[in-house]
Amino acid sequence: MKLVYFAWVRERIGLAEETVEPPAEVRSVEDLLGWLKGRGPNYDSALAAPEVIRVAIDHEHVDHADPIGAAREVALFPPMTGG
């Protein structure tokens, strides 16, 4: 599964993208955020308040309760400030 990060999520994690293989018990977006948070202080800092993190799966917005399913690309980013 490819993960992509934007804005301060990208800066705090220190990566623009990476490929991960989460364990089988990581089923929902929420699970994924929790699992990532435990991967090191940079992840912990980026995901300290997971409720503000927005997530898109394969270019579509999803809720934290949604399943990850067969996602190819999961994006994590702060609330958007375009327009």
């Binding site: 934007f6 804005a7 579509e60 980013f77 702060p78 609330p79 958007m80 400030t81 375009g82 327009g83």
Partner: protein, 157 residues
């Protein structure tokens, strides 16, 4: 039977937006009654700002705006719908975003353009960061609760 919704034109670009050309294209044919446009600008923040940097999610930005624009074209009887959004560095006074809606009914054009802006603000994957004149990089611009509230009102109609 309602006519087919118009196919919106969506463009994500690094360069300037040629607004006169967009408006001309929207008004084009002699069949258009009115065109409503919104253009959003980079403010100079009292002279402190050197530029805004707009980061975007390349794969998703265009798709998400196309989805929003298609919703607008379904909901209002538009004869044209153009949405252009810049990324990269934008100088104070320059445009960041352009939305143009053409319709035979001016109220439809006003509502569609307003809806598009509310949704762009809350759903289009762009993030702004300030670059200051003193050479430092300022913070990421925070999202506004008022923008979420503005987008939510379209559910209640």
């Amino acid at each position: 039977m309602a006519p087919e919704p118009v196919v919106p034109l969506v463009r994500i670009l690094a360069g300037r937006i040629e607004m006169a050309a967009e408006i001309a294209a929207l008004s084009g044919s002699g069949a258009v009654g009115g065109v409503v446009t919104f253009s959003g600008y980079c403010r100079d923040e009292g002279g402190r700002l050197e530029a805004l940097e707009l980061e975007h999610y390349p794969g998703m930005a265009e798709r998400e705006i196309e989805r929003i624009a298609a919703q607008a074209a379904e909901r209002w009887p538009l004869t044209g719908c153009h949405v252009l959004h810049r990324y990269g560095l934008v100088k104070p006074g320059e445009e960041i975003v352009f939305v143009g809606c053409a319709s035979a009914h001016r109220q439809a054009a006003f509502e569609a353009a307003s809806f598009l802006m509310d949704y762009l603000k809350t759903r289009a994957p762009f993030w702004k960061r300030e670059h200051l004149k003193d050479g430092t990089t300022g913070g990421w611009v925070e999202s506004k609760d008022t923008d979420s509230a503005a987008a939510d009102r379209w559910h209640r109609l």
